[in-house]
Symmetry: D2
Subunit: 299 residues, 4 copies
């Protein structure tokens, strides 16, 4: 339980509702900022405006996945008002107040550094990335079904990278009956790919390997699916790039060759906002429990 812990939830989309639900269940006291239009009421959570909040005893602040924009504005789906997070606001919080967001940027890094606040980027955590690989995989499956005129079952699928998403993708497409091969560089990755029952290949051989590919899924965040690679693919290949923006594909060249290449948006919040919210809520509540235990220890 997080009884008595004071937490501000600032802005965000449907995913934040799962966080609010979980934290109120754990008996935390919540200030909801940027939720005026939210119909649902949660016991223990009060809707407030930024300038009405007492930050002096705030134990934690929870921002949306995107954090702030470069001007400090926080996205608020459930409010028409503009909400900004500033250095001034942070400086009102107690020393131990921890700031949580999905990712960060120069602005957010700047104000937290300036005010000596601990900033936790949830999306940089391996566990969050692996849990998020589950909705990402399902979104990728959906895209593969929507954008081809053949079944995944029986098709040649090449996956680039055996990281946190790559392994989940390999398992799912394999079990759906695709002929999967996975490209990697590390020898232990090539071994794991083999053990998983799919075909490994060395990424240096990528150009040689794409000649019969029906669907290519890239998870590697640098330009690996370049013009040379694309020029070796059949023209009917579908490229789905799920690496962080701007992806690892030469989209301009793919278009020129008439190959359909899609840069997948961040899929978890789109295909399964409830699950995506629960993932964040679960990890957050665990981290808050640790903070809570530390604080109790000090007292």
């Amino acid at each position: 339980m997080l009884t008595g812990m004071q937490i501000a939830v600032i802005g965000g989309d449907a995913r934040q509702l799962e966080i609010i639900r979980k934290l109120t269940e754990l008996d935390a006291r919540l200030s909801l900022i940027g939720f005026e239009q939210l119909d649902h009421a949660f016991t223990g959570a009060v809707k407030e405006k930024m300038d009405e909040v007492d930050f002096s005893n705030m134990d934690a602040m929870i921002l949306p996945v995107a954090g702030t924009n470069l001007e400090g504005q926080v996205e608020t789906i459930f409010s028409d008002e503009k909400v900004f997070l500033t250095e001034e606001i942070l400086s009102k919080t107690p020393e131990h107040c921890t700031i949580f967001s999905g990712i960060s940027n120069a602005y957010l890094n700047g104000i937290t550094k300036q005010t000596k606040k601990n900033l936790v980027q949830l999306f940089a955590r391996d566990d969050v990335a692996i849990y998020n690989s589950i909705p990402t995989v399902e979104g990728t499956i959906m895209m593969a079904i929507q954008h081809t005129d053949f079944t995944i079952h029986g098709s040649n699928v090449a996956i680039l990278g055996l990281g946190r998403c790559g392994m989940s993708l390999a398992r799912a497409f394999h079990t759906l009956g695709a002929k999967v091969k996975v490209g990697a560089r590390k020898t232990e990755h090539l071994a794991r790919i083999t053990e998983m029952g799919v075909t490994p290949f060395y990424l240096n051989d990528l150009q040689k390997e794409v000649g019969d590919t029906d669907i290519l899924i890239n998870t590697i965040p640098y330009l690996i699916v370049n013009a040379e690679v694309i020029s070796k693919m059949p023209v009917q290949t579908l490229i789905i790039d799920i690496a962080s923006k701007p992806g690892g594909t030469d989209f301009r060249y793919a278009e020129k060759r008439g190959i359909k290449a899609l840069l997948a948006p961040s899929l978890p919040g789109i295909v399964a906002p409830k699950t995506a919210g629960q993932i964040l809520a679960d990890v957050l509540s665990q981290l808050l429990h640790e903070l809570y235990a530390k604080r109790k220890e000090k007292e």
Copy 2:
């Protein structure tokens, strides 16, 4: 090879193109009726109008999946002209000429009976139904992803029936990480469900089993998901009914209770027309080979 076999392909959608491709590869001679707007040319296939065709040496006629409508009209995606199949036309064909369609109706049954033609309904074959279960499963997965805000992974999925589609659905949703249970009546089906690693239940207990269902998929073609069953489901449940029209769900009552219930259209032709066409082309070419062998034998 089907060298010298004379076949009329009458109307249809993208799936027929795979059939045309395959049969021309096998060296059959094709009359394409209702394909004026088709750009692609196939060696050995001639576009013709119904009244120009010489039916006197036609070995087989291939209709679209739907056969004809009740007035005898054949659907033609690649033509603006109306194409009709009549008793008169059939009577011009030789005795051994076989008629292929996906399904049939009173009209088509009537004219083939009257003219003593052998009518083969491909969709009534077990092998076609099982091959088609593959794109059907992928379409169902797509619908499940699109119409829920949670992942298939970790969700409670109930599947009704362990027939030709039910078994494929059970396997796929299980491997995607859902907690699957499958309802059946036959004791050997309950045994097979157990062996597959998913949870069996007896369909008589359906009402008791749906209390925690996130997604219910019905494959049984009579009213099994009735008002009593629906009244026991959580209101967030998604019902996907893939049984032939009109499905096995009381859609009216589901709507009244606010439960989303979808009658899936025939999915193979929609989500994977190329694969769906190849399935038909493969089975057709096998059946035509048998006809061909018989005819050669007689000669």
Copy 3:
């Protein structure tokens, strides 16, 4: 519950103990014949000798899997005394008394026919065969590991038949990473094999298909792995034949060619007697419930 039902359990091995456990839990009254050396006592079950038993109100008799031998003797692992089932004994039971065994033979068929008793052969039931396929698969896996110097993972495994055992074998060896192909004759079986993600082949092509086989598993109960087929196999191939005696392999020729060929014994009772007993106990208790309901109805 089977309260008040009177059942004789006659002879058998460890599997019968699971049956006794289950039936006493369901409150049946049991006469245990041929269990003198059994240490464990079950409430509601009395050890008796054949000539002491009052058969006049016996509702059912449960024989071991093997039934009797051709002289009427019943195998008794837990007794040194010889136990015989005779026409005379059966004639003492009431008309409705049902006899259960795994399999039957001329003797058992004869005495039950003569006394007009209903004989239920559990092993002839599809559900029992499918449940039993689970321990059979595990026994086959064990044999494959023991009798080769390579891993199942990555090896070429050919399975003959997609029946009750064949389907279970195909799934298990596929998921363990073998390259599995399954031979069948029915077109719907070839379709199902494809859907399962393994490679189908037509049994008529068996000779052509075994050229690279590492492990061949036969489930077909007639001479299909004949000398011609064996002559096409690599000499290192391991043949495991799980079809009922005498199997479907020309063992003499295999030995001549130096190919190791094993006729698997009935595996469930050997590799997992407890599970095998539970399978029989579950099906038996269901069948006894039906008998019980019928009898109550009549009263």
Copy 4:
């Protein structure tokens, strides 16, 4: 190709034969020491005695998996003569000569350090450990089948650790139909376990988690399955410990409680020596190629 490379293969068991086969195929020149009784001849490989060998141009030496014993003796299955590897022998080899073994010990570390030779322990490599997890898993499955009277399918299996073997074990037992839970400490491991479709638990809760375990498989190389944990298990539980000697189980206490606990030997060389040899041969040939390329570069 390794044309012209000079390599000594010293002692070992059937696994070395796969290495010899592979390296001669790659056109290396081999001195086989401790292989007098080997019938088979390999082109490019010469059987020699230790004191006849010219070590002055030796590019690499390949020892058995075990390396040497503490007196420097090398195990030789194919020879009755005692073979020793000494500092003196190593000092005769050129500076670049690389020594390969599976594992090492104080003696082998000592003489290689003294003579400034590069010693590569293949079993310390992640890729070798992951490839070896495949035969290890199959050996564990075999032990689980042999030492229980129930099927893996449907049983409760707890696996400790999600390392190189743990992940392979989890996948295999899950796909065989067991109800698998995996204990780990790292949050990213708990996430991956969830994604794999099996149940995660935190190792700190181990005592609470073993109350219904049928089979417990340990991969963690320190005393984790201690008396307190064992005292919470059902007495029928089977413990299979595959961690390196002396394992992570209190075997003395398990015996006292009447719980069967097995310390698995190194399984790959036992259940699948050919595969185990091929794994080593593949990795070795890759490493030798890299050495070869380096040497060519220098020339």
